[in-house]
Amino acid sequence: MQDLTDLYQSVILDHNRRPRNYSVLPTANRVGSGNNPMCGDQITVYVKLDGDRISDVSFQGSGCAISKASASLMTVNLKGKTIPEADAIYAGLHKMVTTGKVGEDDMSDLAALAGVYQFPARIKCATLGWHAALNAAKGDERPATTEKPGD
């Protein structure tokens, strides 16, 4: 089962086992949620927004290793970023998991998600938490869902 380590890199397994910022955020002024109806995965994201800066972010929920690790990595990577900066990071991630290409920017620990590209059914898992967080930060109250075609 060697090829699985492409997908389940040690960074992923680590974030899955010990997800970072896995808690309710008492200071949050935005809450977002996401679900993957086909899998039953549910995620809640808590965002503290100062101006257009995500000064803090956390999450809770149930999901597979990929979605949990990706949401955990999301909190680590978005904390302290402005919304445009967060959008740019997500754009890089999205490109990576859909095309397999790592962008020019250094993706640092996010590169652990590059293997998702080879598992198209799991792309939704890798983006769910990010959708929920960005929607919340932008004040879109609708739950993020993975079911929009083409996503």
């Binding site: 109806p37 086909m38 899998c39 059914a121 739950p143 869902t145 929009k148 075609p149 083409g150």
Partner: protein, 410 residues
């Protein structure tokens, strides 16, 4: 005519057979078309290599099936020039598509005394669902007449009178399955929109026969059957403008159309999934996309020209060569469907006799009873042409009808 047209009959294995000792002349295409080998192969390939349930699965076969199924949605959107694939809902066919609109959009939006406008030439499938809706909601039906006489053209001069602001739905056929009339769909959709009505186009007889562009047509909904356009039986689609689909309640309840289910209530998935409850007709959807490829390789402009050329020729020859025949529908600018009446010979007798000569015709009311009554007929005989039909087959038709006429006249 491009290369794909050469040897086109060889693409359809069923055509190469004898019926009652004579080579088959299949002229019942308005009922259902034959299928090219590539569509049959698409089914075989699916069941031999891909078959799995879609959406909920993440193993390899299920991913393959899901991608092929969703690729068929993209293909269908391209076939109709829909703005996005999310505007395509797969259904069991035109009848199912129209019932979907009547039940979901209709029940949600119609009130007592609202008007549903139809035309006098609608197929039962674009009439009965609206009758049922009218009964449920108290809405009223109204009909745009056809002009007196046998051309069967819509009486557009009456449009102002019937298309009033009370009209909430204007549903009409693009091409008549009995008379071969092609209706001015772009104009009708624009007029519907001008009074705030939604337009529902029955494209059962036009999809696969004419180029279709839902954005140019400006329709709100458009219903298609796969089996009449070289695809398998049991599959079709509904095009719906996204903003309308998004606002509509679901049609059937079940798996795959939900976003969350509790024991006492549920939330729906976004369109189009909201309208696709249960395991879809995966194999046939994928084979339908293959039929679209096939038709586009031939070119839908070329198909329309071919249909019209044969139908106009047949119309002219029958009118000239069969004594006493009554031709219905326009002489030209028409689709490949021809209807006629041989006075004194019932359509069923015409069809049974033609069948003895290997010529497959249809006789009856063609799911068009009220129009028949209006024309003073209980049935007609119908010959309908498609891409594999030839001028030689028209000669066979003419000879056969001459014999039938002779038999009954004699």
């Amino acid at each position: 005519m491009n290369q794909a047209w050469k040897n086109i009959r060889a693409d359809f294995p069923i055509l190469d057979q004898q019926v009652n000792g004579k080579p088959l002349v299949y002229l019942d295409n308005a009922a259902t078309s034959q299928k090219p080998q590539c569509v049959i192969d698409a089914l075989t390939h699916f069941y031999q290599h891909v078959n799995a349930n879609v959406h909920r699965g993440i193993h390899t076969l299920s991913m393959r099936a899901t991608f092929a199924y969703e690729a068929a949605r993209e293909r269908s959107a391209k076939f109709l020039n829909a703005a996005e694939s999310g505007e395509i809902v797969f259904t069991a066919g035109t009848t199912d598509s129209i019932n979907l609109v009547a039940n979901s959009w209709g029940d949600e939006n119609l009130k007592k005394d609202d008007v549903i406008l139809l035309t006098e030439m609608e197929h039962h499938s674009n009439l009965v669902p609206w009758q049922l809706l009218a009964r449920r909601t108290g809405a009223r039906l109204r009909f745009l007449p056809v002009v007196p006489g046998d051309t069967g053209l819509l009486d557009l001069a009456q449009l102002d009178k019937v298309l009033t602001s009370e009209v909430k739905i204007f549903a009409f056929t693009h091409v008549s399955n009995t008379l071969g009339v092609i209706n001015p769909v772009t104009q009708l959709c624009a007029r519907a929109r001008a009074v705030g009505a939604i337009s529902v186009v029955d494209a059962a007889q036009s999809a696969g026969h004419l180029p279709l562009d839902v954005q140019t047509m400006g329709c709100d909904f458009l219903a298609v059957s796969g089996h009449k356009m070289c695809g398998p039986t049991g599959v079709g689609l509904l095009y719906g403008r996204k903003v309308l689909l998004d606002a509509m309640p679901p049609y059937r309840g079940g798996g795959s159309m939900i976003s969350n289910v509790d024991y006492f209530e549920s939330k729906w998935a976004p369109a189009p999934q909201k309208f696709e409850a249960g395991t879809p007709n995966i194999a046939d959807v994928i084979a339908l996309a293959r039929a679209m490829d096939y038709l586009d390789d031939l070119g839908r402009e070329a198909i329309a020209l071919h249909d019209e050329k044969l139908a106009s020729l047949a119309y002219a020859r029958l009118a000239a060569e069969i004594p006493g025949i009554r031709m219905l529908g326009p002489a030209d600018h028409r689709s490949g469907v021809i209807s006629f009446d041989l006075p004194g010979v019932h359509a069923h007798d015409v069809v049974t006799m033609a069948d003895q000569e290997g010529v497959a015709l249809r006789g009856g009311h063609h799911c068009n009873q009220p129009l028949m009554r209006k024309l003073g007929l209980s049935s007609t005989s119908r010959a309908s042409f498609y891409l594999y039909n030839t001028e030689d087959e028209i000669a066979r038709l003419v000879t056969t009808l001459q014999k039938i006429h002779g038999f009954f006249a004699g």
